[in-house]
Symmetry: C2
Subunit: 159 residues, 2 copies
């Protein structure tokens, strides 16, 4: 591996292990357990599962992999708080989680070092010329941290 | 910047912004607020401040910067849960937080690309030859995620 490939493999490895922890955690919960809140008056686990699905779907587009597949999730899980909307069925949320993360992980695995250093889709060519850190790699690192942020919360729920 | 430097600068930038969020959050709290728990029966904020200080102090040694300065924190904030030990004074925890993070951030800023790809101190030369991802850069990425994990928890505390 080249030095550049080691940097990518290291960060991608942390993404993968963090994603696997989340997948394992949520998969272990019953429908009743998914209704629990992470703290009194705070988000329910099912809301966070949908929230992470929506954010990972946005990430797919942000990394330039094409159109996202579930934009309808944003109105329920991103732009409005928990308890404000009627949620989709649990089966529908699970299907979206599997679909979104499957597509995202598959596409990420194919990127080369040069691809990771290219700009993400929310920055213009002009701005990227001045700010080379607004690259796809930064999205990988920040999205991993976003996932860790919510993993810290879901870990608080009593078994 | 070389490609390698961009990878390092991107991950280091995420570390810095995550650290600054934590520092700003904890600095905004009164002594009474620091006694609040992140959820019923879970860690108090003051415990998490000490826990993060201890972990960042360990990170200093793990990155090969020298002896850690506050090993005594582990028995209170890492190997035993909250409420099991008498805590140091708030002034002492704050002094350790500032000292540890100041030294860590200063030392991190001096590392070259080659330094980041070198092994961390908890892996042997022999194992590192087989597993080049056990490098200092992996410590940077995982420690940033550890901080994000607890930031997600402290964000749950009602103001």
């Amino acid at each position: 591996m080249s030095n550049e490939e080691i940097f990518v493999a290291t960060a991608l490895g942390v993404w993968k292990s963090t994603y696997q922890r989340a997948d394992k955690f949520f998969s272990s919960l019953s429908e009743v357990e998914l209704q629990k809140q992470v703290a009194p008056g705070k988000n329910r686990l099912i809301y966070l599962l949908g929230h992470l699905t929506a954010l990972h779907d946005r990430t797919f587009a942000l990394l330039g992999f094409g159109e996202r597949s579930h934009p309808e999730l944003d109105a329920i899980f991103v732009t409005t708080p928990d308890q404000a909307s009627e949620l989709p069925s649990l089966d529908a949320v699970w299907a979206a989680w599997s679909d979104v993360n499957g597509r995202l992980n598959e596409a990420m695995a194919k990127l080369t070092v040069t691809d990771w250093l290219a700009k993400h889709t929310a920055v213009s060519d002009e701005d990227f010329a001045k700010e080379p850190l607004r690259n796809r790699f930064s999205i990988l690192v920040t999205r991993t941290n976003h996932l860790s942020y919510h993993l810290g919360q879901v870990a608080l729920v009593p078994k």
